[in-house]
Symmetry: C2
Subunit: 452 residues, 2 copies
């Protein structure tokens, strides 16, 4: 039988990140200054980000070199393994070849350290001593705590209330790496105190809190785990490794699948394949899987919106449910975000990426089926992607085609087993998305230039 795992050596860790921004058709719509609604320049970002990252945010270079020290740290968990899902294929009775890239082998348990480490590095290079951030499911906060520890920096994390309550061990993990963790909304910030009526919190609120902390102290910066161009840039190490691994297997993907909250794991794994479509005429399909309770790509509108709930960050062109829309609590905390990465939204807008929304119970059904075949228990976020893989595998069987499916299994579910408990007990909800609440949130948005 063919190998189960396709491994790379440390010398095969990519030397460059892949910047997909110059590949997008047309001129990119610039971010807007939240005060003036005029195009935002690097100076608008400099209070909370270092210049090294701001340059990456606006770069038109097709590739950006990875600093040596970052590559050295990547060796703690990279290259990550790619698996051929032999057992899952048999269980699904599909002719499809299913490959999953497993990012759960990082110490923090997800793909997030791929960007946490370089973000900490660029900040430290410019004299920043502390990073503040938000975390949803806890994956990002864990990753930044880990990265700051390796860089000898301080780390302060605002954790979305519902996740803080559901996942106390994510907090313990961050503390083990030396970070300070607050339940958001917290009493530490004006933004938190103003949102006390939303006790479950949201990513948007937590972002506002962390940004406020960073803006108020010169030696403290902010770090975001998704959405921004430089974050998706760093995650392209995932896609670059997949290219090399599939080459070793003698395959090329017919479809690449990932879950989308802010878009970083999806943007990371798809980047080189999207470029091959746009530049080399490849015909890979791309499927973005999101929760039906927070259906940004499938139900949101494409327009300018703030990155955070309070309206402090620049406005970005994206699909959005409205920056102060508060999605219902659910276990895939990392997917509870009102917007999505402008880069991913641009690809959806251009018809390059197809989005699908799934309900909570059907994603856990898919995750359990996967765990019982392959062993690994997925986090609730990539469970959405697994759900889409099952659909693709079924479609391959119906078409009688040996399609190659690549999916980003971006993290394990070791801190999400309470959700599995609820699923088995039949008490897992399928929270409803409120179209009316979205419309109300959209009506509260400021007027902004129309997007093409």
């Amino acid at each position: 039988m063919a190998d189960t795992k396709i491994l790379l050596t440390e010398s095969e860790i990519p030397t460059h990140w892949l910047n997909l921004m110059p590949d997008l058709p047309g001129e990119p719509a610039p971010p807007l200054n939240p005060g003036t609604m005029e195009p935002a320049g690097p100076e608008d970002l400099s209070p909370i980000f270092p210049m090294g990252l701001i340059q990456q945010e606006v770069s038109a270079d097709p590739e950006i070199e990875i600093p040596d020290e970052v590559r050295e740290i990547y060796k703690l968990w990279r290259p990550t393994p790619m698996y051929r899902a032999h057992r899952f294929e048999r269980d699904l009775d599909t002719p499809a070849h299913i490959y999953y890239k497993y990012e759960g082998t990082s110490p923090a348990g997800s793909h997030k350290p791929n960007t946490a480490v370089p973000q900490a590095w660029y900040n430290r290079e410019e004299g920043v001593r502390k990073l503040a951030t938000e975390t949803g499911a806890g994956q990002w906060g864990s990753a930044l705590a880990f990265a700051c520890r390796l860089m000898d920096m301080e780390c302060e994390v605002f954790m979305v209330g519902s996740s803080y309550d559901q996942k106390p061990y994510r907090r313990s993990m961050m503390q083990t790496w030396g970070a300070t963790v607050h339940r958001s909304p917290s009493s530490e910030t004006q933004a938190g105190r103003a949102q006390a009526e939303h006790p479950t919190g949201s990513l948007g609120i937590a972002i506002s809190e962390a940004v406020e902390i960073a803006a108020g102290d010169d030696a403290t910066n902010y770090a975001l785990g998704s959405v921004l161009n430089h974050v998706l840039l760093h995650q392209t190490v995932v896609g670059a490794e997949c290219v090399a691994q599939l080459e070793k297997a003698g395959e090329y993907p017919d479809v690449v699948v990932g879950c989308v909250g802010g878009g970083s794991n999806f943007g990371g794994i798809t980047a080189p394949f999207v470029r091959a479509n746009l530049r080399e005429g490849k015909r890979t399909r791309f499927v973005a899987a999101e929760p039906a309770a927070c259906p940004t790509l499938t139900r949101g509108v494409y327009r300018y919106d703030f990155g955070d709930t309070m309206g402090m960050t620049p406005l970005m062109p994206m699909y959005t449910l409205g920056h102060d829309f508060v999605p219902p609590p659910m276990h895939a905390g990392g997917l509870r975000y009102h917007g999505d990465a402008p880069l991913v939204c641009g690809l959806v807008r251009a018809g390059v990426v197809e989005a699908r929304a799934y309900r909570q119970n059907e994603t856990f059904e898919a995750a359990v089926r996967f765990a019982r075949a392959e062993g690994i228990i997925p986090a609730p976020e990539p469970a959405h992607a697994i759900r889409a893989v099952i659909e693709e595998a079924d479609a391959a069987r119906e078409a009688g085609e040996e399609r190659v499916i690549l999916v980003n299994l971006c993290g394990h579910g070791h801190f999400d087993l309470a959700a599995y408990d609820a699923y088995f007990a039949g008490s897992l909800e399928d929270p409803e998305f409120s179209e009316a609440e979205m419309q109300a949130a959209l009506e509260r948005l400021p007027e902004t230039p129309a997007l093409a």
Copy 2:
């Protein structure tokens, strides 16, 4: 810089397990039938074990071939990575070269699936439909649940009460893989009902419960996660991979370190190096790290004792605290066992292996130091081994020698973060070992032949 990880390909998964029994000096003391106190034969084990495993238990073959299907399943996580602990070495300011073999990459999160999978396989080959077992920290129960799922068998787990309460997510994990889990002592068995006065439970009580279930049903067998020869045999895949990995690094260990509860991870990683000492005159040292609250190797007596609390299993020659000694609750649940593998005990007795006992707080101090250097958060059990590594690294610095230290990091601590919380809060106890309780337990033992 030298590579961080030393990886093997799937074709380098060992083809044979290494049986150390024929290497031990002198005739092995046979197990005794618990009814007659006469040497026990294969027929004494057949009510609860399949012949395939019984043959391995008493085999004098130096090597035993691994079945193809087992090797195929091993590919889901094997070969496991070996890491050079560059950052930990720098933090310890030691000239030692520290290598850790990381078994936490298995879906169950520890080395336990190395034996769970072949145990399930040999049982299924002989028509057994269900396995019953105990679990302490939950590592073994998770591993057997995972293995039974892959073999389409049922699995029933008795989980030590204190761990069941501390680690609810270990239970969820077992249920995700389809197992039934009981809190031990349970009301399901006579053994459990008889021990209701020990609500925190112990490995010995849980073993008795599982053995009772297996003995009462022809299609159900028992599976033990440690102690027995065939379990240590299966774990030698760990040591065999280490030999190949250290060869790639151009190194040979001066000292090999592991924690010891029942002895399986320690027996597994040390086996080929012990053989090289005995057959080729190598001079590697072996350090077995155990908890001061359950100090079997450092404080117990060497004599025949039962494997379980109720006295249902054959008696084995080992260091023991008395089979009905109940160790105090602690977070390293996998190390709360009154005895130790006869094979490991024999090596301690012969002066080949040195044992050391550590208190709970000093092991967590070591684990946090390791996590902050290397990222991976160790389970409390291998934290004991990390503590011993720090001592060895200090000794190397004092001697000014570039010693090579190999340690088995046999599992991650993702389900043990409550213990880390307690450590940071300063509320972690250093439970006392009671010499008097041990003496009382030893006085309750039946008379048995003296051991040489």
